[in-house]
Symmetry: C2
Subunit: 258 residues, 2 copies
């Protein structure tokens, strides 16, 4: 992990831009992180629009996390932002755009082509990034995953045991095979659904929520479109992480001792 720039934000949060191999990313740590015990971490998911474009929203979420005493971090998705172009992904995006503009139903083939290669490629990258974050003395876990491409969150929740809780955003196209993976998820989940999300099939989102195997899963549905998540819903998501990443710390160390 090579830090390329760092700045202290006005609330004391330390923001570090870095590269991990060729992958750019950003890490935010609360002011107190260097002074006290290692802090939990929230991985910030985001749509594949490039970190530069998503920066303002990511930084706001990171600062909210830092206010709860958590570090937050994210990396660029394959084919997005400053990373090398990915012609197959661009093709899938163009197919989706064309289909939606024509008012036609989005086929399973388009959704699969758009999401599955992205998840396959991104998951090991996020796991490698997690290795790097957890090797820093100021970050100790446990780790949560929050938002972004929901299929990435599902896959990570299944394959990455260091992630103990996930806040997912039911706002993107979900390949059918991910419903099967959803049944294998057992960590606590907090799922946000925008009831009038223009880019999302509400019934599919409810079916996906139903499919999750987790014993503790909570669906919070609010009015409004894709980007209209109300402030109080963001607060509730942070409280979810506060509940699981704080009490989880004790549970984890108890487990590690046995």
């Amino acid at each position: 992990m090579h830090v390329t720039s760092e700045q202290r934000l006005d609330d004391g949060v330390l923001e570090r831009a870095f590269t991990l191999g060729e992958i750019p990313g950003i890490l935010w740590t609360p002011e107190a992180a260097s002074l006290s015990a290692p802090v939990p971490l929230i991985l910030l998911g985001h749509p594949p629009l490039g970190l530069r474009k998503m920066y303002a929203r990511l930084a706001a979420r990171a600062r909210q996390s830092a206010a709860e005493g958590f570090a937050a971090a994210t990396i660029e998705l394959p084919g997005s932002g400053d990373r090398p172009g990915w012609p197959a992904l661009d093709q899938a995006r163009a197919d989706l755009r064309r289909t939606m503009q024509a008012g036609e139903p989005v086929s399973d083939g388009i959704v699969d082509a758009l999401v599955l290669p992205l998840v396959d490629k991104a998951v090991p990258e996020w796991q490698a990034a997690l290795d790097a974050f957890l090797s820093l003395p100021e970050i100790g876990g446990p780790v949560g995953y929050s938002g972004g491409v929901i299929s990435l969150g599902i896959r990570l929740a299944v394959v990455e045991p260091r992630i103990v809780a996930a806040g997912l955003f039911a706002g993107s196209l979900v390949p059918r095979v991910m419903f099967e993976e959803a049944r294998q998820v057992t960590i606590p989940l907090h799922v946000l659904l925008q009831w009038d999300d223009e880019g999302n099939d509400r019934q599919a989102a409810l079916d996906l929520f139903d499919a999750f195997g987790s014993q503790e899963k909570s669906l919070q549905a609010n009015m409004g479109g894709h980007t209209g998540v109300p402030q109080f819903a963001g607060d509730a998501a942070i409280q979810f992480f506060a509940r699981h990443l704080t009490s989880g710390r004790a549970v984890r160390s108890a487990g590690q001792g046995s």
Copy 2:
């Protein structure tokens, strides 16, 4: 309002049992209520099982409300508890029990007979009780309604302008006509749904949520059966009221001044 007994609970909450005409009820006020400005009020709804049977759960909700600085109050439903029997209601209950034990679908007729007369009779009683509560110097509003028979909450939200926010529990049989009334509800709503509620039709609950006319409405669905509402969901409901009954005070007084 005739106070029949009063006691100070260990957290300082003053609990007063009263009768209002022939209707028994309970009022809880936070310790600070007599010392500072008049406090907001939450009307505690409950299923028609009698206040005595529901006391422990009601008192717990009241104490949680008091911890946020709110008074809480409830009255006995018609035909329940110590109130005179209501043969038609008993008949409707017996019909429902028989139908469910036989594993037959519950007809609209049974639901209507069970709920509509109860709502028709209870609503003016709750409004009269509200008059009495708000005439006390320590209670100033605004007023929220919470839980219990959801159709009572819907009707009150439509007809009673002093109720500015409602936390509803999607856990009871809802007559079809109430879906029409739901469209007329415009106050902020926080709707709890137990995903695996054995006595509740999940799809009907989602349809009802969709029908509400409120611009701010939030559905919180959690795992578990009818009585398995997790602690954090109760906390979230209290936060909903804190948001609306506290900021609402300023909004209301601004409105009253114009």
